[in-house]
Symmetry: C2
Subunit: 480 residues, 2 copies
């Protein structure tokens, strides 16, 4: 009752204020609104006290609960990313890439899997989680950080895929780094990596995979260089996705606190710079929309092209087509894209996608998979079975032939070779290439799959984003 009387009194005061001298009242209001706007814009680092914090919590909670009432619809689709960064400061480029296109738009959740028993890892996880969140804030990335203790990488990611997020704010795309050192690692590690991709598809998620040009990785941060100096991390020389991930695990397995484990040190360490923090100018983003899986491969580069440093970039779309119908096909694609309200600058038809690549390129692919081949054509059956038992990831002759025979199928080594040639021809100097991620059958040897990925993306200068949706539509004609 009392509070309503107070509100009434306040309203009356405002009315009287205007009645007495309306212009003075306007000036007073103007000053107040200007000051409020200034404070909201500047967001000064002031502790507004616990009642502000409490109302922040209440608003976050109420809006999140209210979101549950929104029905799912293709109009509401947002690429919500679960970024498998490990400790985020080990992967500034992956963090920046996802942070750029999700900023003010959709959920980004950096995640870290700690391998071990959760009772042992828990205190450490508590300690570092806060530091990682602070690090993300300092980098101005609007993201959450979460870690999980699991027996192995894959089961940890499964846990995250199943339970991370709240209500409608749940990730639907895991984002991974490209596993550069796949030829050196154990078969279990390879199995885990490809298994994560399969799990994501099983869970009706899309997948996004990022490959940087070799050597162009972000400068290692303090924590990382300190680690490198100890010289006893397996694979610490190559800054590959897994090496960094493993390094994270390795640091985590020590008992004593290490440099970057201290939250304050972590937040204050020098921030590594990546290409996502630089003006991209009038470079071009090329999208190779070869196999549709719901439009995700169009959506993510489109979103990226509307952000700060990428705003001036041209976006070109490449689709495959027949040489004698190029003009018609181009018209169809242009009209389709305009219905989706995606304003791309150029559309190209690739008529020569199914050409046979020259033998020397095929040979390079064969050389790549040679160490992983079973060569069962030259061995008797007992030996073959024995090897197959021990090394299920070995590639049999039949599999090579089978994959070579199905010309039209995505999962064909020589198609990747051909695509790589096309990419080298058309997009060598682009800022970014987005291309559909090839997928493999479940039984396909992991090393053969990784060889496709490597072949597809090798020797290219630009940043490469391999994207695959899950046949869930992410674009729509309907405006209302």
């Amino acid at each position: 009752m009392l509070k309503w009387a107070a509100l009434f009194g306040a309203a009356i005061s405002v009315v009287i204020m205007f009645l007495l001298t309306w212009w003075a009242a306007f000036i007073a209001f103007g000053i107040v609104i200007f000051l409020l706007g200034y404070i909201l814009y500047k967001k000064p680092d002031v502790n507004w006290g616990s009642s502000m914090q409490a109302s922040l919590y209440n608003m976050a909670l109420n809006y999140s609960v209210g979101l549950s009432q929104v029905d799912e619809h293709v109009k509401n689709y947002r690429p919500q990313c679960l970024v498998l960064t490990g400790p985020p400061n080990f992967h500034p480029d992956l963090v920046d890439f996802v942070g750029t296109f999700t900023k003010n738009l959709s959920l980004m959740l950096c995640s870290n899997v700690l391998i071990g028993l959760w009772k042992q890892k828990m205190p450490e996880s508590r300690l570092t989680a806060d530091g990682h969140t602070k690090w993300l804030m300092k980098r101005k990335i609007k993201a959450f950080y979460t870690d999980v203790v699991a027996e192995n990488l894959r089961s940890g990611v499964q846990m995250l895929i199943q339970t991370a997020g709240l209500g409608k704010m749940r990730p639907n795309i895991p984002v991974l780094g490209y596993k550069r050192n796949w030829r050196m690692v154990s078969s279990q590690s390879l199995e885990d990596y490809v298994g994560i991709l399969h799990d994501a598809f099983d869970f009706k998620y899309g997948v996004c995979l990022m490959r940087m040009k070799e050597g162009s990785r972000a400068a290692p941060s303090i924590g990382w260089s300190w680690l490198g100096a100890t010289q006893n991390i397996p694979g610490s020389k190559d800054y590959s996705w897994e090496a960094r991930f493993i390094a994270g695990l390795w640091v985590g397995s020590r008992d004593g606190p290490l440099i970057h484990v201290n939250p304050t040190t972590l937040a204050s360490e020098q921030q590594a710079s990546t290409i996502f923090q630089r003006e991209q100018g009038k470079k071009t983003i090329d999208i190779y929309w070869l196999f549709d899986s719901g439009g995700l491969a169009l959506l993510i580069p489109y979103l990226l092209g509307h952000k700060k440093w990428w705003g001036k970039c041209k976006i070109g779309v490449f689709v495959s087509g027949q040489i004698n119908m190029m003009d018609e096909e181009k018209k169809v694609i242009v009209s389709l894209l305009s219905k989706f309200r995606l304003s791309f600058h150029e559309v190209h038809i690739l008529p020569d996608i199914s050409q046979k690549p020259p033998p020397e390129h095929i040979k390079r692919f064969d050389d790549l998979i040679a160490p992983f081949r079973l060569n069962d054509g030259f061995k008797d059956e007992a030996t073959v079975n024995e090897i197959r038992q021990g090394c299920p990831w070995k590639i049999s002759d039949k599999e090579v032939d089978k994959n070579r025979a199905k010309v039209a199928v995505v999962m064909w080594g020589s198609l990747q070779v051909r695509l790589n040639e096309i990419l080298l021809d058309y997009s060598q100097d682009m800022a970014l290439i987005a291309i559909t991620l090839p997928i493999s059958r479940k039984g396909c040897p992991r090393s053969l799959y990784m060889a496709w990925l490597k072949t597809l993306s090798q020797d290219l200068q630009p940043l490469i984003i391999l994207i695959r949706g899950n046949q869930e539509n992410t674009l729509t004609f309907y405006c209302q």
Copy 2:
């Protein structure tokens, strides 16, 4: 540029409107504000279109991310609950209890563990999750629903404890129902149940356990009675926590869609009524604050006592003390509670808590644990070891004696017997009793622990809430 010009034009229009006829302008503004207020208050079920939904998402996301910048502090502590309801419609009382004290205040997350392989369970989980969320909305409970597929109940709850939630909105108290049928179930099931409590403490979480009077459980909902009619669910007759949980699993294990699996049926089914939906009038809430663990046992009943149907309830606090210092101790407690700004109506000192209970009550406790005893005093060592191997949950004579010897320790059977006597004396007619949850050592047989819980809470009419914090302070003196 254009949008700023438009804003400027709009502002000028408003100014001119006031300059021309100020009273007409005020009336126009008044009508608009009234209509806006009416719509915001009524929240009509209208689809405001995708731009409203989009801004709802953005606000939820931005506030949630902003929350990460709030440092953790005892002033910000909120009891955020992970409610182990199984399918929420099987546990309307548990849902209502937590929903009542968390409403507009803190996070409530209903969770369901589906036992099995996640690839098989996933489609079903997708189907039902939406229905459960709708059911919660229809019941006007502001809660999230999440499910997880795991090998067993305990590992599923571990997954939820580790990863559920987002940023600062993460549960810190699992809420369970009391396991009424602990004497009938397998030792593995008992191990899982008590293990969940231990896991929660290991993870620095509090725990809350609810026991309803036998027979006063909420009327089973349609889905449930339909299940009961099939008559082949183990334990379907007793509406215990686990029976309902198992029923949920059982329904889930069928291939075809069942009545309550259909989301629309689920949301439209008749809502079971519970005591939390009724005016409690001038009844009393009694808090037995016997062993402090951070003040959680005071906080939850206090929050409950400030909600709609419980607003008129008196709250009494019972603490143990010495008979010759009762007045001094009472003064200390009253001043402590007033510093915490908890306005409780009565404080009682219990001087007779360590009295020895009468032998017939002790005997009843001994009878309760008799079926679970190893009786190793009368057997030779080899037999004892053999039984111990097969049934690690059996209670050895030594354990009974040890627990009987430590008079001062919480984990003593006869203390629970004595507490039960006190509860029967003082609080038989109260609306709700909140009491500290006893804890056990890790090695303590599960059946002995469950016997304590049963002994402590048996024969009582009111709803019993067993609460234990984790030595983390939840109350503070400091106002600013």
